[in-house]
């Protein structure tokens, strides 16, 4: 049975309905797909994960998987979901190998199969060197990786990760994402909360963007990449101030410093902007400039106007 995880109209409030953590969220998570959940701090991403996990109960709405309500059957949710928490998993006093083995054992592995599974994940993440080191002596990144390994050893159908790559070095970040991809290919539902948009673009299939508890974007990452390439940012440092009507046509203009302008250009605006730039460079009105594709951070900021309400 290939089951999807369905979220329908989920609303969660805290502090006597004063704080709306999730506002009427509906979406679907498919097996075989790596979905990134992004958004500012406090956007409601972790709350959504915790509701899927069954440790937080929605005020309204349903979360179902394979005909079961995860919101109403927390015991079932625990059996079909593995979750990597935002904080480190508890590893003080135990070695990395012991921590991973303990969770594998709790998830039903035993004997030679258990050792094989633990060795496999240690190999995958290149962590053998630290396998027998006590948890409290590990660096932040290694603790995070241990927490990750504890989640993916003997993996459940649904895998939730809350900022798994924080503190992790670039080499192992890649290994970690490759591991997620492999799990997705095996048919797991993989949901990753992350602020790293470059990684989202590189490794995720789909991204959800949350803002103030609402789901404001839910689309394939290749669409996001297309959006990026069809827009650009022209940053200029001028010798004097320009009025807005002296600048070329742009979707948005941000004056970030004295005589510094960021012009967010659409594809149609680019030719005129380059001509304008050539003229101003020739008349030495511009000290320097940079023209680049819109970064994901620009797309992110454009969606939310920062984190202001």
């Amino acid at each position: 049975m290939n089951a999807t995880l369905n979220i329908y109209s989920v609303t969660k409030t805290f502090n006597h309905h004063k704080v709306i953590a999730n506002d009427n969220i509906s979406t679907q998570f498919l097996p075989g797909e790596v979905t990134a959940l992004t958004g500012h701090n406090g956007a409601g991403k972790s709350t959504l994960l915790n509701q899927i996990m069954g440790t937080v109960k929605p005020n309204r709405g349903s979360i179902t998987f394979s005909g079961h309500s995860l919101a109403q059957e927390p015991a079932f949710a625990r059996n079909v979901i593995s979750m990597m928490p935002q904080l480190h998993a508890p590893i003080a006093g135990v070695t990395l190998r012991q921590a991973i083995s303990a969770i594998a054992r709790i998830r039903g592995a035993h004997g030679r199969a258990l050792r094989t599974e633990v060795d496999k994940i240690l190999d995958t993440l290149h962590m053998n060197e630290w396998a027998d080191m006590p948890g409290e002596k590990l660096s932040g990144g290694l603790r995070r990786l241990t927490s990750f390994a504890m989640t993916v050893v003997r993996p459940s159908p649904i895998l939730l990760f809350d900022e798994p790559t924080n503190d992790v070095d670039p080499v192992r970040r890649k290994l970690l994402w490759q591991c997620l991809r492999k799990l997705a290919l095996q048919g797991h539902i993989v949901i990753v909360v992350t602020h790293n948009l470059l990684e989202v673009e590189q490794y995720a299939d789909r991204y959800l963007f949350m803002h103030h508890g609402r789901l404001i974007k839910d689309e394939q990452v290749n669409i996001l990449s297309h959006d990026r390439l069809s827009s650009a940012v022209l940053t200029i440092n001028a010798k004097h101030a320009f009025k807005n009507n002296e600048l070329p046509q742009a979707d948005r203009i941000v004056t970030s410093d004295e005589f510094q302008y960021d012009l967010f250009l659409k594809a149609d605006d680019m030719t005129d902007a380059v001509s304008w730039l050539s003229a101003k460079v020739a008349t030495e009105e511009i000290r320097n400039y940079r023209l680049s594709p819109a970064s994901l951070n620009d797309v992110y900021g454009g969606l939310t106007d920062g984190n202001k309400r």
Binding site: M53, I81, P90, A92
Partner: protein, 256 residues
Amino acid sequence: MEIKDNYFVDKIPKQQVRQFWGLIRWSLIRHKVLLPAFSMTQVVLALAIVYGLALLMPNMSHTDILYLSSGAITIGIIAVGCVLAAQIVSTAKQDGVVAYQKTLPVARTKIILADVIIWSLASIPGVIMSCIAATSRFHVDLYVSPISITVIVLAQITMVLIGFSLAYWLSANAMALTTQVIMIGGLLFSPITYPADRIPFWLTSVYELLPFVPASNLIRATLFHAAPFSYLNLLVLLMWLTTAFALSLLALSKRS
């Protein structure tokens, strides 16, 4: 991915046992450094009560000796359950261990049971040391029997569960304060190490409703044959055990 059948049905007994053993092992290895330290603490506490408190009472009657001997065992059990276990679980709560445990695919009762086993085992050295100290210092007779062992185990489980409830439900500061009050009350004021007729009747009535004095009475009755076995004391202890278990279970099952 094929969803395996065992995600939908209860796991088979063999898997359940393995899973439970996994929980106990995990708890054991996490506390492996602390347990010997706790054993030493209990040894010192047992010696302090049997030898130290005896110094305050130069002319001890046989009754005083029995109270001090049984009191040492009870206070050791209270110290492990209501103070040490409570503090460790409270720290675990702050470190996110409890929240993490909540996400594991195990029944909440198993999480509680695994920790109860660990902490009950942890209080055994104190019980043994108290018995050794009492027999060597006062030459009292011990009546080790299934009923006295059952009573001691019951007292251990009750105190550990009370400690868990305090840790799960109270903030770290409130928990620390409560455990200090329990320990000071248990060690200095409650009729655990001296006969109840030395304090006002109303205060005795209050102590009879709390779990500490009934536990002490039951240990004295069964292990020292120094008092009649009281079913009322047993009932009070069982009520506290049930309530503390329910509170612990509620805390682990609670969803925000």
